[in-house]
């Protein structure tokens, strides 16, 4: 694959093309991922999540400046939701990051959740691997913390930042379950709006209740709009990184990620092969009709299908 060689020579166009190919599940994808694999595993992966409008993109914009000052090259994958009705999406995260558009050390890619086979986490993870092989030191993934797959993506990052805002007294209670657990660092953004001390205190209290040994996630007030508190966030990220690397946790997290990846891929391969065979060999209409008219139960229909495509089962 010529495009892979171009990527290795540093072509940004090749990087963009390859992300498209893996995102679209191109037939050449497996070969691409195989070729890239030996060059991956070097980038540090930061996940950023939080409610829509919490200021994630503005924060990424500020982190980009910080990372560049510290000499790192950065890839960004910014995920916005795809409309389940039309399949289209407006991807607007870049608006906040356009001042970095011409920095050759930064590469920003927007992605829709698409809800495709194998899910968002597969597409995003593969895009991360392409950026990693390209040689980015740091890769930041921004996702809205609503769907499970969005949470999964950032949850498998090396360091995960959860962005909250001081919106009302009940903010902490309404934080989506599953989000508090994945944060390595908590940011209370929009600290300029007031009420942030209270949110910081509430989140801190919640974290202290857990009394888990090891890393206690810091809770940092930030004003992304003005860049306040961003240097402290950067410090916290680097500290978390050192913490992971010194305690062997880095390896165990990556092993966990590898396990999840393997499971997802097996599922994906089985699912796509099975459906491909079914689609090309069998018309489902009869079976569907039979179930709908209650002439056949769905279990026996499913087994019959799999038997007909010789699925070892």
């Amino acid at each position: 694959m010529e495009t892979v060689q171009e990527l290795m020579r540093g072509s940004r166009r090749a990087l963009a093309r390859l992300i498209t190919l893996v995102e679209n599940n191109d037939p050449r994808k497996e070969e691409i991922m195989e070729r890239l694999f030996p060059h991956t595993g070097k980038a540090y992966l930061i996940g950023i999540t939080g409610s829509p409008g919490a200021g994630k993109s503005s924060l990424v914009d500020r982190l980009l400046a910080e990372a560049r000052q510290n000499g790192s090259t950065v890839g960004v994958i910014a995920v916005d939701p795809t409309s389940p009705f039309t399949g289209g999406a407006i991807l607007g995260d870049r608006i906040r990051m356009q001042e970095h558009a011409l920095d050759s050390g930064i590469f920003i890619r927007s992605m829709g959740t698409r809800g495709s086979l194998g899910g968002l986490s597969r597409a995003a993870r593969e895009a991360v691997q392409v950026m990693d092989a390209f040689g980015k030191d740091l890769i930041i993934i921004e996702t809205v913390g609503v769907g499970q797959s969005e949470i999964d993506i950032v949850g498998t990052a090396d360091s995960t930042v959860v962005v909250l805002t001081p919106a009302g007294g009940d903010s902490v209670q309404t934080i989506k379950a599953g989000i508090m657990e994945i944060g390595d660092i908590f940011v209370v953004n929009k600290a300029d709006l007031g009420g942030s001390e209270r949110t910081v205190a509430e989140v801190s209290m919640m974290l202290d209740l857990k009394e888990e040994p090891g890393w206690r996630p810091p809770v940092l007030p930030v004003v992304a709009l003005r860049g306040e508190g961003v240097a402290a966030l950067w410090q916290a990220l680097m500290e978390h990184r050192r913490y992971l690397q010194s305690g062997g946790l880095f390896e165990s997290r990556r092993r966990e990620r590898a396990g999840r990846e393997l499971g997802e891929l097996v599922e994906f391969l089985v699912k796509s092969r099975v459906w491909e065979s079914i689609r090309t060999q069998i018309s489902l209409d009869e079976l569907i009709e039979a179930i709908a008219l209650r002439r056949q139960d769905p279990y026996s229909a499913a087994r019959e299908l799999l038997r007909r495509i010789n699925f070892p089962f």
Binding site: A16, I90, Q98, F107, S272, W275
Partner: protein
Amino acid sequence: MSEKRKIRVLVAKPGLDGHDRGAKVVARALRDAGMEVIYTGLHQTPEQIAETALQEDVDVVGLSILSGAHLTLVPQVKKLLRERGMEEVLLLVGGIIPAEDEAVLKQEGAADAVFTPGTALENIISYIHENIGQLP
């Protein structure tokens, strides 16, 4: 298995004018037609637009220009796209553009199509579908 290819469109506003209502209406219409629309906001330079088009690997770039500077901005964007190996990207221009300027832009090969205010959104959508060619 390969999924249905998604059309990716960059909607950008170069130049100094501060009205992006039209650009947003088009962006939403394209989204509703099932496309992925990357929206970058106001005051984009031709360099930012070309570089964003490259990173986002878009199939279409739509420029919304109300400032009257289309005769300089559009050819500049086209040139920068070419330099990046993206000459096949459809370049569409929307805005208040006199017929003689439209002819100039098309003759120079800068713009593939020009849509003036009042163009039905369906026309833009079908233009994209018809002219995007066989996507790889």
